[in-house]
Symmetry: C2
Subunit: 194 residues, 2 copies
Amino acid sequence: MHEPLFEYIEAKSELKLTDEERLLIKSKFQPKRLRKRQYFLQEGDVSKYVAFIVKGSARMFSVDDKGHEHIIRFGLESWWLNDAESFISLTPSRYNIEMLEDSELLIISVADAYELRDKSRLFDLTIKAMDKQASMATQRRIHAAISMTGEERYDELVNTYPQFLQRFPQNMIASYLGLSPETLSRIRKNLMSK
Amino acid sequence: MHEPLFEYIEAKSELKLTDEERLLIKSKFQPKRLRKRQYFLQEGDVSKYVAFIVKGSARMFSVDDKGHEHIIRFGLESWWLNDAESFISLTPSRYNIEMLEDSELLIISVADAYELRDKSRLFDLTIKAMDKQASMATQRRIHAAISMTGEERYDELVNTYPQFLQRFPQNMIASYLGLSPETLSRIRKNLMSK
DNA sequence: CGATTTTTTGAATCATATCAACGTACGTGG
DNA sequence: CCACGTACGTTGATATGATTCAAAAAATCG
């Protein structure tokens, strides 16, 4: 069950885990199964855990006054789930995290995550690598959101995350891109004829 | 010259620097002065340095095919400057970083930054705290960009970063919000009459 | 298979961009 | 210190991209 996490850590840190370190990490990460449509985090709750996705997928989204959902980000195998804002400041979350497929997670509490970063150099390096990658990805996304048309943003998504198209329904892709489902449908129709 | 950086590190890490650590940090960060309109990073260059802003301000922006500029983020005192994407992957940057006021920076190379994180626990804690804060801020910004109208985004900026209105011209605020200068002008006019 | 969800299409409407013109503020060299 | 040039902000008219609402078609699920 923990094997994919170990592989992830060794890949990110570019180092090999000792048996001792494996045991330590295993002791802090609890397996958790969530079925499709179950929530990992609900709006108003405080995000006390981070999850590593072993298998499955999820979306983090907010709901506005009009009841429209906006997808902040998706999660797939080897990605992490949590609301940075709530997790860090320990305030109630404005977001929901819902599983989109039957999933297997490995969860760790805030306190244990800090402790583990202190005790395991590899784990610490892994989180640093993840932070860097995340900051790159969010910088790109902000750039796309403020400077591109819907069609350009869809184009970039097709190139950057082609898996999304296989795994997620089109109306969720639209929400992720900040478009209405109808608009994305029309954009795709348009691209067909080119 | 390095005093503001020391204060920043002690505030973020919630610990006190030793004299030894101060010397080490001082030896890695070079002072650099840039005047208004000078560039810290130009599109096409690789971002090899990170800068801590002691005094002054800057903007990071891209230029699209039509020659329009899009501001990804601003920098002010105690903020950091670099292009995450270029810095991390050592690829030529798609962005420019230009000083908006005569500024004093403390710059550190990629290699030295890694080394310093290894050698100074306080510096490492500081960067971790900064990463967390940055991930919170970018999550908020993405949420705003994909789910809010121009007026709502301006409103949020007024509440979150009121300093921006004092320090930066309105057309740059518009660019940061992903709006044309004309649209922001009209939004402000609208808000006046409420 | 029927029921529900997702996608598509059309028409009307809204938000924002674009282009052009004008007024104002600003800083820079003479 | 003034005058000029450049940058900035506002306003109006028009164009465009995207949303909304409604309905039908297609896909998916139990």
